[in-house]
Structure formats: structure tokens, C-alpha cells
Subunit: 351 residues, 2 copies
DNA sequence: CTGAAAGCGCTTACAG
DNA sequence: CTGAAAGCGCTTACAG
């Protein structure tokens, strides 16, 4: 005594109160095909037919099912963004810009973080692929081959953020991190410092950090300063940790300047100096990389290299949308974002 | 001389190198139905058949198409998170926790921000609905009726974050913001302060801020302190702005304490005091709400109310997944997250 | 400009 | 435990 399948299904959907294209078509007295056309390419529908469909759709509260549509035209309308971490200022500004720009293109964003674990990154990409994403932005060029291959095989547009590479495997929107590292360090050297400590994150699976560090060390070499291994410290992107590490070196090694892998680390160093009563920049110069929100406001304001996260995010979104619409995946040019040294109050000449 | 449609389609897919369930089935010498079962409910497939399918799928690099699957079982495997802003610490920690927890449940996260614009929020929700999300988390209880209705009609599980309400329209995972506001203010009053300034964000479309502010003012009333309108200032969640506003009031009104709507605002106030050479807490007490990452590290460390963003994010993710799996949308209990006053160095007794 | 029909890649009763 | 077949809600040549 059960309902037939088709009756059950219809009842279920009706029960859910969500009308489909068929119901809208019935109400507007047209075929489902015409309703579909109305939503995808209104121009091909006659104005008064258009009006009827619009009215029916609005009255019934119709919402398109893009998943059903995606089965034909292969476009889900979602674009993926895979980052190491979401809640770190480094990336959250970029994520926000990326998301906002996608919204303007009528796309939604799928984000996930892998916490610098390349294997996790692979499963995230797989999971995004299962959802038929129209494109993906990854951070940097350090990825497992599997990851890149899965995307290439499916011709999903990919773009690498932040990183810079002469000969990249993935087209990028990024800045020359080596140059950024070189510039801040050079600035500190120009101020007369030779006893410089470096706080950089683990460069494993992180080409941005690697480039910055190499750039920094090159500035040292170019200035004929012998770099002391003990002054080259590993420090995560975390204020608490950088503060602790800075307190340790400031009470032992006593460098006259500290160059940090990014602004978050530099903030921690500034706090450490406060607590120890070390005057900045009188007794210690501190420099970061990134120019995050807040770096101009901290006291003393932070000398850093501007690396516009928001621009990277917006440009990446535009580029991916364009790639997916045009199908031109291979002709995409790398987009180099210029960096700029910003000298503020946290660095100064050595007395 | 053109190919038939079916040939073209097949070629196109093959050209893209992405095998479907049919190709996997052929290779494993089973029917597509069995391959489908293997992925959805492996147990019903005989072990050796299972092995053959697994092998075929791996060799061919098969990736499921969840969109196609979602047409039947109505589950896309994606859950939405709609926040006012993404790059503000208030939310980015929560987003990260939400995302990480969803990943454990094999779900992906769609995020978007509406920047406190309820109309934009409606279009975001519509856009999420078009992607057949399995659930949505919104922030607070201030939403347009359209938004709530669209979700209810489609029986999509919804949860409100952060907010607290005796009688909420949407079940929530949140904290008692009024109590949080009351507590910090009370603490400052207990320290002997009566000349207190308040820096709170615009409470329009922001029930969390509204509750906190009301709680703060209630503490004032309870202590028989007359609140002076001129000391109740509106300030966005932005260090630069709060620093500027704080500098202004610290050079004119000269309150002995400033209570802030959240920790970001408080950070700006601390920087303002630095620049003006005002000692904290000797000459000025500063308190925040939230206990963000970094609030324990800033010097002086910030007195605040702990409002665990990460826990809210994780619990919300768990709850939404559970709701969508169980179909129990209406029996969900509100989950109150306890708050805790954390007294640090930025507040002190009035001399 | 519009409709009928086939099809997108899966899932799921139904029948072995 | 497995297969054949119908169907999910749309889109798109094809034919008017």
C-alpha cells in the first residue's frame, strides 16, 4: 500500500516547499526549457514571456539548483581557496578580499586549511574536486605532484598565491619574497647594524619563508657580514612564541636589530622588548615583512615591507574567474605584485 | 560530418581525463550500481568485488562527483558559514575552527561575509541555497525575515553563532554577551573607577554588541554611576580607528578607565595611551571583551572576558553536521558557552 | 522565440 | 550480493 516512487519524490519536494523549474514553468505557462533559458540567457526570451516567468519565480520563491545545472555545463559556480591557515592575519586579509571579489562575480568560495601538511592539502583538493570547483588558488609552489596532477587532468584552473618563481609550475599572483627579505635586511644594515638576529618560520613546505630568508641572508653576504648560525632562529607565525623567543635572545645574545619573517613575529618581538625595558629603536631595531593591518598602529610603528595581501586576493579571484570562463588556462601570465619598503619608527641608526 | 552528441560528450570527458563511475565499473567488471554502492556503503559489497573496484578507481584516478550524487540524496556535503567579516580576529579564529572541524566530518565549508548588510546577507544565503548546502551558520539573531524563511522552507539546518537570547528564533551556540559586558565593567568599577569611557561598535544589526553595551551600562546603573552620553562612543572593530578615537578622548575627557566592545578596540586604546605617554594601569585602565589571540601577549597584557571563539566554531560545525544527518532540526538545544573574566595587567585600582 | 526530448553522472528501489 | 532501469533538476542541440 505504498506510494509509487514518483509520487513519493514529488511529495517530498513539495513537502519541502521548494518549487523546481517545472513548477515555475507550469505557473508561467511555458516549458521548463524556456524557464531555464530565462535564467541563463534572458535575452533569448521574449520580453513578456520573461515577465511571466519572473513573476512566477518570485511568487513561488524559486531558487535555482546550480548543482543540477552544473551537470551540463560543468560549472558549479564555486571556487576553492586552499591556505596553510585561516586565522593568521597573513591569510585572513587575503581570504576576505578573495571572497568579496568572488561575490561580485556571483561565485562562492570554498576555503580549507592544511596547516602546512602537503598530504592534507591533497585530500582537500580531492574534496574540492568532488564538488566540481571551477578553479583553485593554492598558496606558494610547494605542493605534492598528486595535487597538481589531479587538477591538471581535470583542466581545473589553478593559481599559486604569494610565491614568486622564475619558472613556476603553476602560474602565480605573488611578490618577490626574496627581494622583500633582502630589502628590510639591507635597510637595517644601512642603519649601521651588524649584530642582527633573524626570526623566520620553518621553511619546510613554505617557499615564501624560504625566499625571504634567503633574501635576508644574501643582504648579509653582500654587505660582507658573517652570518652567525646562532642568530638565525626558527619561529612560527605566532605572537606568543615570537615574544618568548625574542625575550630569550634579548637577554643573552643581545643583537642590536631583529629582522622577522613577518609582521606577526615582529609584534611579538616588540612586546618582548617592552617587557624587558629595551627601547625601540634606541637600543633595538625591529623589522617585519608584510605590512599587516595594525603594523602602522603599534607603538613604535613597524618598519616592514609592504606585500599587499588584499590585492593578491582580488587579482587571484579575478584571474580564476576569467580562466574558468575563457578556458584559457595555459596562457595566463604570472602577475608580479610590487613590494615596497616602509620605514617607520621601529628601526633606527645605530648610535 | 559531425559526431553524434553522445560521442562528443564522451570524448570531451575522456579528453578531460576524468573517468566516471561507468568507466570504473567497466574496468572492475561490475555494474555502475555496484561501484556506487562501494563508495556509499562499502559493507554491502562483497570483499573481493570491493577490492577490484578499489583497484580500478585508484588506477584510473577516479574522483566522485558529489554534485551528481547530491541530486538524489539531497546532500551536497558543503556547509555554509555567513559572517559579517572574515579578516577580523573576532571571526577568523572561529572560521578556522569551524573549517577544521568540518574537514574531520568530510564536509567542506562555504564562507562569505556581508559586512553587516542584511540585504547582502540575504543574497549570500540564496547563493548558498543554490549550491544545496546541507546547513548554515549565521552570526547572531539579527537577520531579515526573508533570510530565515528561505532556509526554513527548504528545511536547511540553521544555527546562530555568538548571540545569546532567552527566546531565540534560531537555535544558537553562543555566550551571554550582556553578562560579559556587565562583568568587565563591574570589575573596573570594583577597582574604584567612576569616570569610565566606553568604546563600542555600532549596534545596528549587531545584537552581540548591543547586548554587551547594555550589560556594561547596567553595571553602571547598578553601581549608581550616572552614565554620561559623551563618554559612550561608537567605534568600529578596527585598531586604527580605536587608536584615533582613544587619543581624542584621552586628551580631552580624560577618563580613568576605558571599557571596549572587544579586544581589537582595546589594542588600539593601549597604543593610544603609549603614544600619549599615559601609563597603564597607573593612570588608565583598559579592558576588552573576547580574549583574542595576542591579548595575553600585548604589554600590558589585556584584562578581558574570555569568549571562546574556537569552541563556538567547533561546536557549531558538529551541531550542523548532526542536524543534517539526523534530520532533527527542531529539537536542537541552545548551547550556552560560559564566559570568564580574565584580569591581567591593563586594569588596576584607582590610586 | 519556444517546446520536446535526450542527457549530465550518479543513486536507489526493485527484482533477482 | 548484484544488475537493469528509472529518476534527481536542470540544460541544450534540434526542430519548428
Amino acid at each position: 500500500m505504498r506510494d509509487t516512487v514518483s509520487t513519493m519524490k514529488r511529495r517530498q519536494r513539495t513537502g519541502k516547499g521548494a518549487p523546481g523549474i517545472v513548477e515555475v514553468a507550469a505557473r508561467a505557462q511555458v516549458s521548463p526549457a524556456t524557464v531555464s533559458r530565462f535564467f541563463n540567457n534572458p535575452k533569448v526570451v521574449r520580453p513578456d514571456t520573461r515577465k511571466r516567468i519572473q513573476a512566477a519565480a518570485t511568487e513561488m520563491g524559486y531558487i535555482r539548483d546550480r548543482m543540477a545545472g552544473a551537470m551540463h555545463n560543468r560549472f558549479s559556480g564555486s571556487i576553492g581557496l586552499v591556505v596553510p591557515t585561516i586565522d593568521n592575519t597573513i591569510f585572513s586579509e587575503m581570504i576576505a578580499a578573495f571572497s568579496n571579489r568572488l561575490l561580485e562575480h556571483d561565485r562562492t568560495m570554498l576555503v580549507a586549511s592544511h596547516n602546512y601538511d602537503p598530504t592534507l592539502e591533497v585530500s582537500i583538493i580531492r574534496s574540492l574536486l568532488e564538488r566540481r570547483i571551477d578553479g583553485v588558488a593554492l598558496v606558494g609552489q610547494d605542493h605534492m605532484d598528486t595535487a597538481v596532477d589531479m587538477l591538471r587532468i581535470r583542466s581545473v584552473p589553478v593559481i599559486a598565491l604569494w610565491g614568486y618563481d622564475e619558472n613556476p609550475r603553476i602560474p602565480f599572483v605573488g611578490a618577490n619574497n626574496a627581494l622583500a627579505g633582502y630589502r628590510v635586511t639591507r635597510h637595517v644594515i644601512d642603519d649601521g647594524h651588524t649584530n642582527i638576529a633573524f626570526l623566520f618560520p620553518d621553511t619546510h613546505n613554505n617557499d615564501r619563508a624560504r625566499d625571504r630568508k634567503n633574501g635576508a641572508l644574501k643582504a648579509l653576504t653582500d654587505a660582507n657580514i658573517v652570518s652567525d648560525k646562532s642568530k638565525l632562529l626558527t619561529c612560527p607565525y605566532d605572537v606568543t612564541e615570537s615574544k618568548a623567543i625574542a625575550k630569550r635572545i634579548l637577554t643573552s645574545d643581545k643583537p642590536s636589530a631583529i629582522v622577522c619573517g613577518n609582521d606577526v613575529i615582529a609584534h611579538g618581538v616588540i612586546y618582548a622588548a617592552y617587557e624587558l625595558g629595551i627601547h625601540i629603536p634606541g637600543a633595538l631595531s625591529v623589522a617585519g615583512i608584510g605590512d599587516f593591518k595594525g603594523s602602522a598602529d603599534i607603538v613604535p610603528s613597524l618598519t616592514t615591507v609592504r606585500l599587499p595581501a588584499k590585492r593578491i586576493g582580488s587579482i587571484a579571484a579575478d584571474t580564476l574567474v576569467h580562466m574558468s570562463e575563457s578556458g584559457e588556462h595555459d596562457t595566463v601570465k604570472n602577475q608580479v605584485i610590487e613590494t615596497e619598503l616602509i620605514v617607520r619608527q621601529s628601526t633606527g641608526k645605530l648610535a
